[in-house]
């Protein structure tokens, strides 16, 4: 067990290193002078020179990379050009809303998607199945922000049940926080529900064809026990995997959702940074989200071996 975990941990190091190389090279391999790209069209040559000096762009590529990665590992991502703060400070400030939105969305999506998928598999070919599958194709096709504005228009503007936009920290006022989280998490959960429900359905259908399900039925167990205890548990691995892989979709969706609902999180930060050509911030946020994505999937992989003793790599 320990050997497996150790091996899996070591296997992520090259991936993380490659992410770092890629994020580092993005700026350096851009055609033209990176310092001029960052400074923008209206910059003077002194400003360009200052940026070049600040980022160490006049040193050889390898030593730039070593310095940059050593600093990044210590949490030093440099200073934001636009916000006039260190990037690390900015990220710490903006992390709470994004984290809250993501957690609410994952909880909501799992609570909706797994029962839907199991139901669809149980009555495979029936009307519930058709509705669930239809919804899942639709969920992949409707842009997040269109769903967002539609929900705002119906529930906030027309019905006036929920606040339109904005964020309130849960440490300030839990009720307000939850009220303002409902629409954004529903918006963001839709694509995630589509993904999870589809995989749940497929893997439960596959498991339902197994001999032990027939045995369980033959013993006279009720449908619910067969579905929940035998089918769902054995179908869990692909479902949990897709929840992990779906984090990438969630991150992309969070950027848009935060813009629609005016939530001051990391997604808004990255959009503002792009508009202000604030490259240290963009780089740090991309790096951070990618690391989080890889680490979540690592944790999920390791978690399997606890849930399912058959899995050994």
């Amino acid at each position: 067990m320990l050997i497996f975990i150790a091996r899996r941990l070591i296997a992520t190091i090259p991936v993380l290193a490659m992410v770092a190389v890629f994020v580092f090279l993005m700026l350096r391999l851009t055609p033209g002078d990176p310092a001029a790209v960052i400074a923008g069209d209206s910059a003077t040559s002194e400003q360009v020179e200052e940026i070049r000096e600040k980022l160490g762009l006049n040193r050889p590529l390898i030593s730039q990379f070593v310095i940059w990665s050593a600093k990044s590992l210590q949490g030093d991502f440099g200073e934001s050009f636009f916000f006039k703060k260190t990037v690390a400070e900015l990220i710490v400030q903006r992390i709470e809303p994004t984290l809250a939105l993501s957690v609410c969305t994952i909880v909501l999506a799992v609570l909706i998607a797994i029962p839907l998928g199991v139901l669809a598999a149980h009555r495979s070919g029936g009307w519930i199945d058709r509705v669930v599958m239809g919804f899942s194709v639709l969920g992949f096709s409707v842009p997040v922000f269109v769903v967002g504005y539609l929900l705002i228009y119906v529930f906030a503007v027309q019905l006036n049940w929920l606040p339109v936009q904005g964020y309130r920290s849960f440490t300030d006022d839990l009720g307000e926080f939850l009220l303002r989280m409902i629409l954004p998490s529903v918006t963001l959960a839709i694509i995630y529900v589509a993904l999870i429900a589809r995989i749940t359905r497929a893997s439960v259908i596959e498991v339902l064809g197994e001999d032990y399900i027939r045995t369980a039925r033959a013993k006279g167990l009720t449908d619910r026990v067969v579905l929940m205890r035998h089918a769902l548990r054995n179908a869990a691995v692909p479902i949990v995997t897709v929840i992990g892989i779906g984090i990438a979709l969630l991150i992309g969706g969070a950027i848009v959702t935060e813009s629609v609902y005016n939530i001051p999180g990391l997604g808004r930060l990255v959009v503002d940074a792009v508009l202000a050509r604030d490259f240290p911030v963009i780089q740090a946020v991309i790096l951070m989200f990618s690391f989080v994505y890889v680490l979540i999937n690592l944790v999920i992989d390791i978690a399997y071996s606890f849930f399912d003793p058959r899995i050994r790599y």
Partner: protein, 312 residues
């Protein structure tokens, strides 16, 4: 003489069999309901995009402050090019600069479809080349795949945003910014096909008669990747249209004066509470088009690769 006749017969038989197989595949594709529905809607959208000037539209970039924020279906008097005033009905209303949303939405179909198709074609072309070569040449495989793993670990939209921020906004840069995150996904698909095909007896036979590696790749391995790539291509096309709209909507994609569905929605953001039509019409067109492409892809997957269809 007899030998030649027999050869001829054999060739004929082989040709008919191949033709029958092809026909079977094509008719299976054609019979599939999802393919038909998806293809019809996509074709319709293409037609709308192409024929936009003929469908009663005006210049989609023309600004007219007199008719700002008109609600859909309202008739207003508008100054013609000749200087006369004539009534015009705004089917989808106008935006805050008085531009006709109906015209902008119709012209917007062009950009979305161009981006979707271009991203699918370019990312498949690049991914196919890398995948074929790295799947077949062993020593290259490890290095390439580690790099691809690293790229895949960066969420696609985030990577596209990062690239656009460096390359600047524009149609070509947006297309390539969406292509880059798609490449590793295509490479993985192609490589998995190559790895299973390279052990087939006919590839070994080709090696043993001295066929060169590039020829083996093109003649024996490439054809096997086509069916899964066509399926993957439709899904790439659908997601590329969504990502383009997202980038434009966030204000970091294609320049705002170009009529794209994402741009129309971006301009409608601040007026949305009073004028939801500014977001809903382009949103509806975008959703229907992406849905059609996705349905087409589902249908193609079921008919081209029945094994895959059952799994998901």
């Amino acid at each position: 003489m007899t030998a030649r006749v027999e050869d001829q017969v054999e060739i004929d038989v082989a040709a008919t069999a191949a033709a029958a197989r092809k026909q079977g595949l094509l008719s299976r594709v054609a019979k599939n309901q999802s393919v038909a529905i998806g293809a019809v809607i996509v074709a319709l959208m293409m037609l709308i995009g192409l024929a936009a000037p003929l469908l009663g539209t005006v210049d989609p970039k023309a600004i007219n402050p007199v008719v700002r924020n008109v609600k859909p279906g309202i008739e207003r008097n508008v100054m013609q090019a000749s200087g006369e005033m004539a009534p015009r009905k705004f089917w989808m209303g106008t935006d805050s600069l008085g531009r006709d949303i109906y015209s902008r939405v119709l012209y917007g179909a062009r950009v979305s479809l161009i981006v979707g198709i271009a991203v699918a074609v370019i990312s498949i072309a690049i991914g196919l080349t890398i995948g074929l070569v790295s799947g077949y040449i062993r020593w290259l495989d490890g290095i390439v795949m580690r790099f691809m793993d690293g790229m895949m670990a960066i969420p696609a939209i985030l990577l596209a945003i990062g690239l656009v921020s460096l390359w600047g906004a524009g149609l070509v840069t947006v297309i390539f910014a969406i292509v880059v995150p798609e490449i590793p996904r295509v490479v993985r698909l192609v490589r998995s096909v190559v790895l299973s095909i390279r052990e087939e007896p006919y590839v070994e036979a080709a090696i043993s008669v001295g066929t060169s590696t590039p020829l083996i790749l093109i003649r024996h391995i490439l054809p096997n990747t086509l069916a899964p790539l066509i399926v993957q291509g439709t899904f790439i096309c659908a997601s590329a249209m969504l990502v383009e709209a997202i980038l434009s909507f966030l204000g970091i994609g294609i320049p705002p004066d170009v009529p794209t569905w994402g741009n129309i929605m971006a301009e409608g953001r601040s007026y949305f509470r009073i004028h939801p039509h500014m977001i809903m019409f382009p949103g509806l067109f975008l959703a229907v088009t992406v849905l059609a492409v996705n349905i087409l892809g589902d249908g193609l997957r079921d008919s081209l690769d029945p094994r895959l269809g059952k799994r998901i």
